[in-house]
Symmetry: C2
Subunit: 119 residues, 2 copies
């Protein structure tokens, strides 16, 4: 079940508009029509994205009849963070290797520069 | 472009088998047939998943004609980590609120327990 929950979370995050909606909601809860404004999207299009986010548990909607404000629910994002964190050592290793490479390159260039000045 | 790259990464991660392949590759590089064994999947099915992971830049394939070993490429996972990290304070706040709630509940129960003993 945990795997499916994570799949649903990743699926909800595949769309840049849905990620932008989450970024907007990080600033505070808001109504659907307020949300729609900066996206230049129709209300039904925004509502569709909100439904995907709500089903994935990434947002919650208020119960006020007209406004139904949306707010961010970040708990399932923690699952994403926990999942991706298992791979941290791999990208850190990549950066370490790149650092080593650049350091060697710099040393070579310095030596080369010195040789050139000597000529 | 960054947004599309991130969308492609999230899309590649929506499938639990593809995440399991990454977890296997975290143990070391391996051939496609070795990869297929624990998944009880056909080679073409595994190859399909590998193509998705490769297109998303999450794995790389060796050039050895027969074996073409697969290895993890973690750098785009760092982009996922960076993205999700912006929301960290939200789930930490949720846990803080839960902690507060549980502490209040415990205090109430202790008081209640004391009252009951007095009777």
């Amino acid at each position: 079940m945990q795997a499916d929950r994570l799949s649903a979370t990743f699926a909800a995050l595949t769309d840049p508009t849905r990620r932008a909606i989450l970024a907007r909601l990080a600033l505070g809860e808001t109504s659907v029509s307020e949300l729609a404004q900066p996206f230049a999207m129709s209300l039904p299009a925004v509502s569709k994205h909100l439904k995907v986010l709500e089903r994935a548990g990434l947002i919650a909607r208020g119960r006020e009849a007209q406004r139904r404000p949306c707010r961010l629910e970040a708990i399932h994002l923690k699952e994403v963070a926990d999942w991706v964190d298992r791979y941290r050592r791999f990208w850190e290793q990549s950066f370490d290797r790149l650092d080593d490479y650049l350091r060697k390159l710099q040393t070579k260039e310095k030596k080369h520069g010195r040789k050139q000045r000597k000529r």
